[in-house]
Amino acid sequence: MSKQQPVLFHIGWNACINCGACVAICPQEAGFVSPFDTIAVDRPCDIACLLCEQICPVDTITHERVGIPVASNGVNGQ
């Protein structure tokens, strides 16, 4: 796994087709998902491999770098 700075994903819901490809490619453990069957967008990803952005058929996943590692309660670490 890469030792990247954590990222917080943003999904453009207008283009999202709920295909699930981002979750399928995601190397995170169980539970790194949103209620809309996408990757989680409410907490940082500390792997930051960005494979979900690469696989998205409609190119609707972006991210911002965040400085603080994942909080244990699962909330955005900013």
Partner: protein, 391 residues
């Protein structure tokens, strides 16, 4: 054995889960089938093609309730539009056709109706089904059984069961609960997009378009969808292009040799998904747990087809479980590897062979040569003499 709430709890009521549930309930097991969705089959992530043989093999009667259109053969195109046609109406005219007494080769199904139909058959066989119910986790117990935690309409429920079956698709969380290596490589997951369209003629054939120009790492397709509609889609491998599938689909529709054919198409639905062009999971079992269908990556690595392998795998899983549980055999410490061995011998070994063929093609860095190999392999794969005809 200590008492349980259910012999088997199946997470996910797609074709694999519902087929497992139907055969397990028919064999007399107490089965609970859960799905987190309110409507099965949706959002659709599948083109819906399945052979008649695959349906009949698992006792599914082709029914108008779920069939969009009958299929009679295949047309495989190279990058420039030359095609090889395997139309069973002319290859075996006494057997295949739309006339009375003749039969189709396969069908394109409506996944919403198909999945609901299979769930209904499972219920009628005696399985209990809970919709709006999500699996949260499971814990093997010292007495050899396990507990599974569910969330049903926001209410958390813990049940005791002998075996949990993960049938929760490519995004499977159940496999991750058990710590199985479910991660798929970016080079082996095709990002797919398809449009249901009006205004595109089809001829009862599944049309497969090969060529790096149109679908790098995958292929494009045009399938009949009933009522005069068609399905146009493609899958691409992200590492072989800088563009998303949507860009490639636009290009295929506006610049390929089919641009005139597609010129008056009107888009009725947009669907997409990840399709594994990969090997099956190397480990599909854990303590008190097995995986079926997409969750176990039971997907044809050449075609990306997963319906036949899902229902066939569901029957294998149910047959295995009914025998294993009836004999009161252990469920932990590797005992369920017997399921994987059975699956490999009935289906998986052939899929591994297909994976080898597919890998050889895409490891070729010479694009014209790779195009040629993919076209010839696809044309051969769908031919009546193919050794893989029944996958």
């Amino acid at each position: 054995m200590p008492p349980v709430d259910y012999d088997v709890v199946i997470i996910g009521a797609g074709p694999a889960g519902s087929t497992t549930a139907r055969f397990a309930a028919t064999a007399g097991l107490k089965v609970l089938l859960v799905d987190k969705r309110q409507e099965l089959g949706a959002p659709i992530q599948c083109s819906g093609a399945i052979s008649r043989h695959a349906l009949e093999q698992v006792g599914i009667t082709p029914d108008e309730e779920f069939i969009h259109e009958a299929i009679y053969g295949f047309a495989i195109y190279d990058e420039t539009g030359n095609r090889a046609v395997h139309d069973y109406r002319s290859l075996k005219p006494e057997e295949y056709g739309s006339e009375a007494g003749k039969r189709p080769l396969g069908y394109v199904v409506d996944r919403r109706r198909f999945d609901r139909y299979l769930m209904t058959q499972a219920e009628r066989a005696g399985a209990e089904v809970w919709l709006k119910t999500e699996g949260l986790g499971y814990t093997p117990q010292a007495d050899g059984l396990c507990t599974v935690r569910l969330l049903r309409y926001n209410q958390e429920i813990t049940l005791r069961t002998r075996v949990v079956v993960g049938a929760d698709g490519l995004q499977s969380q159940v496999g991750r609960w058990a710590g199985l290596q479910t991660h798929i490589k970016i080079t082996e997951l095709a990002g797919c997009l398809q449009f249901i369209v009006d205004g595109v003629e089809t001829e009862g054939l599944l049309e497969i378009v090969t060529g790096h120009e149109w679908a790098p790492g995958g292929y494009a397709w045009v399938f009949p969808k009933g009522h005069g509609y068609a399905e146009i889609g493609l899958g691409v491998i992200a590492t072989m292009t800088d563009q998303p599938a949507r860009w490639h689909l636009d290009k295929f529709m506006t610049q390929s040799f089919f641009r005139d054919r597609f010129a008056n198409s009107r888009i009725l639905e947009v669907q997409g998904g990840g399709v594994p062009l990969a090997a099956p999971l190397r480990t599909q079992f854990a303590d008190n747990l097995i995986l079926v269908g997409d969750a176990a990556r039971h997907v044809n690595p050449i075609t990306g087809g997963g319906l036949h392998t899902a229902v066939a795998g569901g029957k294998i899983a149910a047959d295995f479980l009914s025998g294993h549980l009836a004999d009161q055999l252990p469920l932990q410490a590797g005992a369920l590897e017997a399921y994987q061995r059975l699956w490999l011998s009935e289906l998986g070994d052939k899929m591994w062979k297909l994976y080898g063929i597919k890998t050889d093609i895409f490891h070729n860095m010479n694009i014209p040569e790779r195009n040629r190999q993919l076209y010839l392999t696809m044309a051969d794969y769908f031919s009546p003499t193919s050794e893989f005809k029944k996958i």
